[in-house]
């Protein structure tokens, strides 16, 4: 997913479909995320002005749901599967290894914008667990040892 430039026009367009009511926070957040791939600081600020709720509360609500991201997506997206099959075969260990390697947590993007990281539940190839997906490539029967080599392939 490519980062889209932040335009206020988008936001004004999104807001025009809603009333300024607290209950509309989550639908608005969903629309923003759909449109831009993530929720930027600027977006939170504008939503705060529109709904008259503080940025702190909006962030609190948004960060509760793992569907919302606060960083622009990186050039490459890593999805680590933590579905049942992958989990029992060490998905968590794999995920932590990626976190260490890239120095980010799930939901974040590396400083150089090279990678972003997400946890997902089941990629649909449980027989090959544990599985990670980078962009459209699936890596099956993953091990921590192979990780670095694979990551090096992406710029």
């Amino acid at each position: 997913m490519k980062e889209r430039s932040v335009t206020n026009k988008d936001l004004i367009h999104i807001f025009s479909g809603f009333k300024s009511e607290e209950g509309n926070l989550i639908p608005i957040l969903q629309r923003v995320q759909e449109k831009r791939g993530y929720i930027s600081e600027e977006a939170i600020k504008r939503i705060s002005r529109f709904l008259k709720i503080s940025e702190n509360q909006i962030f609190g609500v948004a960060s509760f749901y793992s569907q919302f991201r606060f960083d622009a997506p990186g050039r490459n997206s890593i999805k680590v599967c933590l579905g049942t099959a992958c989990h029992v075969r060490g998905g968590q260990i794999l995920c932590e290894a990626v976190e260490r390697e890239l120095d980010i947590s799930p939901g974040q993007t590396t400083k150089d914008k090279r990678f972003d990281l997400e946890r997902v539940a089941c990629l649909g190839c449980c027989a090959l667990a544990p599985v990670i997906q980078i962009n459209d490539d699936i890596y099956s029967r993953m091990t921590v040892i192979r990780l670095k080599e694979i990551l090096d392939k992406y710029e």
Binding site: E41, I44, S48, R49, K52, I53, S54, E55, N56, Q57, I58, F59, G60, V61, S63, F64, F70
Partner: protein, 843 residues
């Protein structure tokens, strides 16, 4: 509703009780002295039901309902301490403790340990109660004790969260947090400052503002309400971290602004270790702003307090005894004529001190040359400000207002208790309209934020005045120059809102007071208020401005607010005081204080910046801190702070409030009135035989209405009555300068209003310097980008009058083409607003 319906009969632990319908089980139990352990419940906050400490057994209900969220019902049978309930509670508490630094709580040696581990507390990381600022006053400790948890059957887990120490006034160690949510509810429900929220979820849950912002960045008001309700040591006040529990409290009045909040001073031994809000339904309702909550302790308790009188002789400081100090003062003053004498006093003194100061000048010196520093704060707008005070409405009007118009008011740090009232008003459907040039605490919550371009405030207000005229003729669209068409439309809507209701209150803050056009702005506010029949509530920055007028601490005013040119009044006072007081000469005092004439004697009760005071041959400084620099006076007298004296204040509404002594003054410091009395007596003046503030108060009551009962001041909110007029100087420039090609920016300046006895709070209160940072220039982010300026760059600001260098702060809401800077009292850069140009300083 019949009586039967209001009460229900329930049974708790085999006691049959009749309780009010609508109470929760917890409330019913507490009112009948039945203990149920709790951690997340708090009497001021809505129930949360998060900690599950308060579970009980209710016959006929499945599982264990939480007492704090379950309402009582007719015939309920409740058991609070069955073996099962207790076992369950212990289990839950163990789970909580497994993520808490619980070693001391469950350690076998804890009692002995307490004996021997007296002084190794200031560890970087808290590893147990003995290292925790909350030790001995902790609700978690208490619950552990009550439930007798001695062991933890779960693996213990330390969260390794960074201790947050970067904000002023309080630290946060969320490793101790039990996620009870009290702080969040306090910040959202009561303060409505909405700084805190739960972030993330599950085992990652933490509390804080958006992203990793500091509280300062996130809009926190530093009211400390969250710190007060935290049951653990997670939130702790920096200055009283290791002071432990107070052993008594004293209720007094905050001297740091005209709201006049009631505070409870926390006293340990002979030291004030903290100040907390007191319940006072008329004024602050259990709330305080950062000044009353956090600044008081450091302000009065700093080790650099002045303890002994000293004189400066040949450039050296010579400590002297009081006798010598009084003698020296009396000798110098006796040799001085009334004409050559001057006395300046900031208006945050008690009425008794203000009264005595003017009596001292008038009787002992035969001089009307007494003035307050408020004159240089309000300058040419002073009389109009007094006019607004004459129309003053009580604060309680806010509770009924349906529209509240705020003019130049920011409630984030100062007056945040008023901000709380405003947000309560919004919650019940009232509309807030705010006129303010910059982003401020009301910009997000106001129904309408009108942001005037500096210099257009008068025309803006005038068009509001015109639009609200009862019988208005002419076109509907206002045609004021320079305020722009779209703003014109907005004003029409605002005018309609204002006219549409009778319950309008106008609040006046400090933003526009230092403007050149403040008299016209204030006058327009007055006319607007008359048009719509609104109550006006000026919120003075000075705590006892009202008292300074009624006590007559001005050359033009006598006690009672009478004019000093009133011959009959002077004659009356002569009789009353049995002294020869001069008639006010035609040469007004304003000239004396600003003509540059060199006085023989100048008496400063408090700090006054050199360019706001006349030069003098001999200078007496009486204050709680030494002057800056230390040899800034010839004779320096140590006086007592407001925590060390009895007296009264009058707040901005006109209410008389008590100031109560909590501790003795440090060293040999004395109350201000006592010092003045001693000097006056030494000079042979009569009428200074007072032995307490109470006696002075009695004398005041024979001259000023509403005074009398010292212990229970009777005067409620009353608007100002003052016959006298003040002579005010006209400001340097009239009319407003516009920016042009050569000087493309408009600079506005505000004055640091957070002062006590003339010095800015930031001088003696560490945290205050982070909040009230003077000398930083705010620039619109885009303007800054164009000029190649980034955050904290040094910026040179030039005009035809001055050139100054300030660090820059990017503010996206600062209107384009404008700059803003806050100055210390006594600093001035000429006209306000002021066309200037900027450039980045070459490195």
């Amino acid at each position: 509703m019949s009586k039967q319906n209001e009460k229900v009969t329930i049974n708790i632990d085999n006691q049959v009780l009749e309780v009010k319908r609508g109470l929760t089980i917890l409330q019913a139990a507490e009112r009948n002295n039945i203990y149920i352990p709790t951690l997340c419940a708090h009497q001021d906050l809505t129930p949360f039901g998060g900690c599950r400490m308060c579970i009980v057994e209710v016959e006929g209900m499945r599982g264990f309902p939480t007492a704090c969220t379950t309402p009582v019902e007719e015939g309920m049978v409740i058991r609070t301490h069955t073996a099962q309930v207790q076992a369950e509670r212990k289990e839950i508490l163990q789970l909580i403790l497994s993520e808490h630094t619980s070693s001391c709580l469950i350690c076998d040696e804890k009692d002995e340990c307490k004996e021997y581990m007296g002084t190794i507390r200031k560890a970087g990381v808290i590893t147990g109660c003995r290292y925790c600022p909350n030790d001995g006053q902790c609700e978690l400790q208490e619950v552990v004790e009550r439930l007798e948890v001695k062991e933890i059957d779960y693996p213990v887990y330390y969260r390794h969260l960074r201790v947050e120490k970067d904000d002023p006034f309080y630290d946060r160690d969320y490793n101790l947090c039990i996620l009870c949510g009290r702080c969040i509810r306090m910040c959202q429900e009561i303060r409505t400052a909405n700084t805190l929220a739960f972030k993330q979820r599950g085992r990652y849950t933490v509390i804080g503002p958006a992203y990793d912002r500091t509280h300062l960045e996130a809009g926190c008001e530093f009211c400390g309400a969250c710190v007060s309700v935290c049951p653990t040591g997670a939130l702790s006040e920096k200055v009283r971290k290791w002071d432990g529990k107070a052993d008594r409290e004293e209720i007094t009045t905050c001297p740091l602004c005209g709201v006049g909040c009631q505070i409870s001073l926390q006293v340990k031994g002979e030291e004030v270790i903290g100040s907390l809000p007191a319940e006072d339904p008329m004024v602050n309702n259990g709330q305080l702003c950062v000044k009353g909550r956090f600044c008081v302790t450091e302000l009065v308790g700093n080790y650099q307090r002045l303890r002994r009188p000293y004189k400066v002789q040949n450039g050296t400081k010579v400590d002297i005894f009081w006798e010598e100090a009084i003698e020296l003062a009396a000798e110098k003053l006796s040799a001085c004529s009334g004409e050559d004498f001057g006395m300046l006093i900031p208006p945050n003194f008690c009425n008794e001190d203000l009264y005595l100061a003017q009596k001292f000048a008038r009787v002992a010196l035969g001089s009307h040359n007494i003035d307050t520093t408020a004159r240089s704060f309000y300058e040419s707008g002073f009389n109009t400000y007094l006019d607004l005070m004459r129309m003053g409405a009580p604060l309680s009007d806010l509770q009924e207002a349906s529209v509240i118009l705020c003019i130049g008011l920011d409630t984030r740090f100062g007056r945040s208790v008023v901000g709380v009232e405003l947000r309560k008003a919004i919650a019940r459907g009232a509309k807030i309209i705010s006129i303010h040039p910059r982003h401020h605490s009301l910009s997000v919550i106001a129904d309408k934020w009108i942001q005037p371009v500096p210099g257009t405030e008068v025309s803006l207000l005038h068009s509001l005045v015109r639009l609200t005229e009862k019988k208005r003729t002419g076109t509907t669209r206002s045609k004021s120059k320079g305020i722009g068409e779209s703003l014109g439309d907005e004003l029409a809507t605002v005018a309609k809102t204002l006219k549409g209701t009778s319950a309008v209150v106008i609040l006046v803050g400090s933003e526009f007071l230092p403007y050149d056009q403040s008299p016209q702005i204030l006058e327009a506010i007055e006319r607007l208020a008359r048009n719509i029949g609104a109550g006006v509530l000026p919120l003075p920055a000075q705590s006892n401005l009202f008292g300074s007028i009624l006590m007559g601490a001005y050359p033009e005013l006598l006690p009672g607010g009478f004019s000093s040119t009133d011959k009959k009044r002077i004659a009356g006072l002569r009789k009353k005081w049995n002294a020869d007081i001069p008639h006010l000469s035609s040469r007004s005092n304003k000239e004396i204080f600003s003509s540059g004439k060199r006085l023989k004697m100048l008496y400063l009760m408090g700090e006054v910046p050199p360019n706001l005071r006349p030069p003098s041959e001999f200078l007496i400084v009486q204050n709680i801190y030494p002057p800056v620099p230390w040899d800034g006076g010839d004779l320096v007298l140590p006086s007592a702070a407001f925590t060390e004296v009895d007296g009264t204040f009058i707040n901005g509404e006109g209410r008389i409030q008590r100031v109560r002594k909590a501790v003795d003054p440090p060293g040999e410091a004395l109350p201000d009135w006592e010092i003045l009395c001693r000097i006056a007596k030494k000079m042979g003046a009569k009428g200074f035989d007072f032995s307490s503030a109470r006696e002075i108060h009695e004398e005041i009551s024979s001259l000023v209405k509403g005074f009398g009962d010292f212990d229970n001041p009777a005067r409620k909110a009353t608007s100002l009555t003052c016959e006298g007029e003040l002579t005010v100087s006209q400001r340097r420039s009239s009319g407003t300068k516009k920016a042009d090609k050569k000087l493309p920016f408009l600079l506005t300046t505000s004055m640091v209003e957070h002062t006590y006895r003339g010095f800015p709070l930031s001088t003696w209160v560490e945290g205050a310097s982070a909040l009230f940072a003077p000398g930083v220039v705010d620039i619109n982010s885009e303007d800054a980008k164009k000029a190649g300026i980034s955050e904290r760059d040094e910026v040179v600001v030039t005009s035809s009058h001055f050139e100054k260098t300030w660090p820059a702060r990017m503010v996206s809401e600062q209107p384009k083409g404008t700059l803003h800077v806050t100055l210390l009292r006594g600093e001035s850069v000429g006209p306000n607003p002021h066309p200037v140009k900027i450039r980045k300083k070459n490195v």
